[in-house]
């Protein structure tokens, strides 16, 4: 069998995630086959037939083969799932079932209500330490139609947006109207963290939440210590709390 350069590797032999491993094995097999068919030495093949004879159609075939095995891709951009619903896993938490939807993070710290009626429903990495905590109304913002609705109608005053997008584009036209932000991903240096700092909007990144429903009154401990790059580098936990206000 024709061997590729990477077929002999003392220290590395496979990728660590299944889809990447499947794709890379398939592509390497394709390269091996086309290299053998070319009858050329590698130095002539690599920027010759390896470019002209390994085509978009070949890669489409690899994609189809994985789907034919029954795999469905995890999506991250809504447009990907919308354009190829047959290729991606379903998208829970759509607009019409928000009333029953909540983020459920397995590591969310949940405690019963204290004497002040504060029921802890999660934690997050505080972007900026403010003088006081923030109380507001939880509203999930997870899709373009929701953003468009708020763009046209205005964001209700006191909204603490619950977002699973650590980027700064999905909520771009309405971000400045939020009272606070709880983001289920990213770090304090993600784009959303940078932007909320510029706007002066309290924000927790990497928020691990459970049971917060649309319309709940919640409190963010934005008076908590902010998490720094050094904390991330040294894997130091530095979290602030999120409560549901029960009375």
């Amino acid at each position: 069998m024709t061997r590729l350069f990477g077929d002999t590797d003392k220290f590395g032999d496979h990728n660590s995630t299944p889809v990447v491993e499947a794709f890379h094995l398939a592509v390497r097999a394709l390269v091996r086959r086309r290299f053998a068919e070319s009858g050329r030495p590698w130095h002539e093949f690599v920027f010759g037939a390896a470019v002209s004879d390994i085509t978009k159609e070949d890669f489409e075939s690899i994609d189809r083969r994985l789907l034919a095995y029954g795999h469905r891709y995890v999506w991250s951009a809504v447009v990907s799932q919308q354009e190829r619903p047959d290729a991606y896993l379903p998208a829970p938490g759509a607009e019409d079932d928000l009333a029953a939807f909540s983020f459920e993070h397995p590591d969310a710290v949940v405690l019963p209500p204290d004497t002040n009626g504060l029921e802890q429903r999660g934690i997050g990495d505080n972007v900026v330490k403010y003088d006081a905590d923030l109380i507001g109304i939880a509203r999930y913002v997870r899709s373009s139609p929701t953003v468009l609705h708020y763009l046209n109608e205005g964001v209700p005053k006191g909204t603490i947006a619950i977002i699973d997008d650590s980027g700064g584009t999905l909520t771009a036209p309405i971000l400045g109207q939020f009272a606070g932000v709880l983001c289920a991903g990213g770090t304090v240096r993600s784009h959303l963290g940078i932007l909320t700092r510029e706007y002066g909007i309290p924000c927790f990144m990497n928020a691990k939440l459970s049971g917060l429903r649309e319309g709940d009154t919640i409190r963010m401990e934005c008076s908590g210590t902010a998490k720094t790059a050094e904390n991330y580098q040294k894997s130091m936990e530095m979290t602030s709390r999120v409560w549901r206000v029960t009375r």
Binding site: V46, V79, T187, R189, S190, R197, Y232
Partner: protein
Amino acid sequence: MTLTYAQLLETNNLIQQNSDETYWLCLTRTVQESKLFPVSPYMILSYFMAFYRYPALLRKIENHMRAEDIGDRVRARGIKCQNPALGWGLPNFYLLGREYLISLGLIRPQDAVEDVAYVLDFWKRFQLAWHRNDAHMTNREFGHRAQILPERRLQIFHADMYDCAEGDALHTAAQAFMAATSQYGFLASCESRIALHNQGPYKIDNDREMIVRDFMDLAEGDYPWLDGVAAEMPYNNLTVPMAVQDCHFNIIDDWGSFESQPEFKSDHMVGVGLYTSDSLSESYQPVGMDSREELTATFVDLTVRAKEATSRLWKRIAGWTRDQMIDAGAITYFAICKDIAHVAGCYEADDWILIDQRAERFRPLLNDEYSNMSLWEMLGPLSHPGQRTHDYQLMQHSNLPANTYSLIPYTILDDHDYTATCGDIEPGITHLDPKEDRYRTTQGVLTQAEYNRRVKAFTPRLSGERFRYKCESWLKYQYDTSEADEMYRIEQENSRNLRDKGAGLRRLDIEKIRRS
């Protein structure tokens, strides 16, 4: 073999520097994510584009202007020629493309070695020139700091800055402008931070520091998706010198992001100014700086324009197909260093805004899951097979037996078993609307041909042969010469407070002038 052992040693050192720093940046800043844009798919596509096109494009640029000359020319410009564009994006997008192709079995570490050495040598020469005043190659080397500007420019930023305080009209307007324009920059750049850049810090008093904040590619220019929606943006690039009190910027990284102790909040901001610049401006040109009231009104006006452009652009993007989103993102990333072509006067849109057909063929692989996971492996656990090294190694920052990027084997000097280059630019495609031939510059809205023609005919006076080597070390002992005085007077031509003041002032003098 045209490369020597010494050149290979240096090339591998430059690869390793980028390897270490990229890991640190990704560890502390996380992998980008967006529910709107397929970010990882477009990032990977851009890496392939960079691998196949950068060597030829950089050689084309150097037929017009050398990398170190471009570095000199753009030092006093707030355009996409600093971090993250040249400082990090140029070498790392190229190296990431190379590493992906190695992982896919499509190339070996000893393929395209003359390209690799050339791209990194271009980067090194540019960086050394751009960083000439702090004499480092990267912010990383400087302990995450960037002091790019000469004293004469810093004095003007310092002298002409208006004081502000939390709650006053200027402070409110400036803060709103920076928030809205950052937001617009992220959207115009398809979720990347490359429209934004910070350099510094610079010491302006015992308890005050200044950073210089750039907001770039805001108007109709190189990006087709800004045609129409950005027609009302009157400046393509804006720069805000910002003074803070009781706040130390302890990290300004090679992505142009900052961290501070204590963490920066708006009430730390005590002074601001506003400028524009591009390849056709002598240096930074003041914007709305004739009075405090004018500057406040200018910030308010630009904030409204940025917000309106954001809404228009968001609606346009929300209607895009996935392929259009990927194209726009990949172009944004790939073309991160395009402004060097503008500076050299050889910018051609087709070089920068089309997806090279060699990269385009990979698109069917780039579903969200493969892209996210393969990128995570590439930048987090470093678990692509080609990244793993022997078991005794402790990589910087990660302590892993791995490197982000593969080094070039020295055996090629013996066995000559290598390839030199991936070849010239090949045709490209796009799913986006064609670019309209309009470019907003400091000399008005120009066509591409006219923009290039004017750049070719223009040499900023302080970049000409007479002054280019008259550096800060020279100035220290020659500040009382007529040539030093002339240099300062040229820089001071548009300064409200320092016009014709010359070269003899110190920082304390500037503070007295501000207070007078």
